[in-house]
Amino acid sequence: MSIRIDAVSKAYKNGPVAVDEVSLEVADGEFMVLVGPSGCGKSTLLKLIAGIEEVTSGSIHIGGRDVTLLDPRKRDIAMVFQSYALYPHLSVRQNLGFGLKLRKTSKAEIAQRVDDVARILGLEEMLERKPGELSGGQRQRVAMGRAIVREPQAFLMDEPLSNLDAKLRVSMRAQLSRLHERLGVTTVYVTHDQVEAMTLGQRVAVLRGGVLQQCDTPEQLFDHPANLFVAAFIGSPAMNLVEAHGENGTARFGSCQVPSAFDGPFILGVRPHDLKLGPGIPAVVQVVERLGTETHVVAGIDAPRLRSAALTDAVDAAASGDEVLLADEDRASFTVVLDARAPVAVGDQIELTVDPDRLHGFDVESGKALPMSSVDPAARDRWGSPAPAGDAR
């Protein structure tokens, strides 16, 4: 069933506005991810949909029915909690059947459905155990099962994978995807992990400070971020950002310059994957991270570091602060993704080149994305510079 959120706000007494006029529409069967740094209001929004918290203003519809004032139990949704919230005094079987029992389902049907779900999730062996006797991964599956067995109109998931270790999380992520394909139930999934958001979400809604920044497909978010925050938050490694000034088809930052169609002062952004070795921006290699499939290089460039609230928020959230810590305090650095065996070492002088069509521009004041425009071919020729758009990746 579809979920429609209309200008929903949530303000706490004497507190900040947790959710600010958010409007969002989740289509029937869609997997929608809410992502943002901690405290951005994503979990609160989920609780508002679940009915655990009451909206201050706005309305929520589930399957065309206005549920704004309804009790959680009447909304016919299921929720998976970050902490799993399994009933510790009940066995796994009772945990799974709890919701069905409350809905006066017949004993035979409860048994049937619990067994079915246990089979799907591989929980048959542990049906009689108590949650305290299960491992983290097993508890996670029970929490999932408790939601599935109810066959609700929608799933709400609040960081369900964040308590698992890294390896388990990756395999669970894949299984979640498959489960959604199989069941086709509308899902709203909250995470602070942008990789989870990008891999799971058919659409991703980015929140910051209770305000919806952008809601789009992962590709659109990546290629056309609506503002500086989304640009910095989505993508790993994060987008390189630097304050620049555009004039006559050239953008200058510090002593560097690249061809660009943006005019006047703006914030220039370039994805680490769009930078290549080649004549252009001089840089000094500071960090080399060889990941096997590719190499991440952090290189200092001769330009001042960008300071902006949107940026620090996003960087903190993306938890990719390593580069920031290592770089010189007031000089900018670019992260570059190169081949696995790229011939670079710490201290090397290199030059970086970029396809001008893949540059992003943001307004200095508002942080909003400037319309992408192609670079005048004449300007590009003047720079004698790099590859046409097709080869950039």
Binding site: R73, M79, S83, L86, P88
Partner: protein
Amino acid sequence: MRWLLKRGWMYAAMVAVSAFALFPVYWVVITSLKPRSEIYTRTPDLWPSDPQWDQYPRVLGEGHVGRALLNSLIVASGTMVICLLVSAGAAYVLARYRVRITRILLILVLMTQMFPLVVLVIPLFVTMRKAGLLGTYWSLIITYLAFSVPLAIWVMRGFVLSIPEELEHAARIDGATRIGAMWRVVLPLAAPGLAVTAVLSFLEGWKEFLLALTFINDEDRKTVPLVLQSFVGRGDTDWGAVMATSVLYTLPVAIVFVLARKHLMTARTAGAVKG
């Protein structure tokens, strides 16, 4: 040898503490079994020469201890049941609804605990007479509740606070009402708290003497402490009856509590949330 040095003093201490706690109980039991002639001796005997059980049928028959035990049981259980219902509800609300008035209420609730009982006896007597409750079980139950509920609320609130709120959210999303979530999830998990509350409030009604003495006149309504007191005469105290009644009064309750403790005191929130 080293083991003995290391652990020996601990066991010695345990034996000493146990002896300290158990000796009075032991003394009560054996005195109840002694014939009258052996109760009054210059040197106390640690074991009766000829244990006799005839004190028991005597106190149960002539002494009306059977009836008194029933009265005590009615008053104590009544206090316990109502105290559990009231304090569980109040504790839940005071734990989950955090408004400013909560803190004030929590203090107010404790106010009754600040008065010495003796000060309250006369006003309570007048109140009960005006309410037409004098001499009834209710006069005792209501008064005992006034003293046991506040403490019970504090104890229960602590237990409710220790139960993750997310469990209730999960239950409510699963289809429970707020009260349903409390009944099916919070209370089972607060069982140790309920047990503590049950024991405390039961004992409040079971052991109380002064108010019972003031409110109850009717022979048929007397609780055990009143009957015990009736064995103490001005010139002569019937020690055999006192001791036999004391055994009937304390041991069954103590045994029930020890058995119940085993089932109720284990932590039950393990595995609810992460960790």
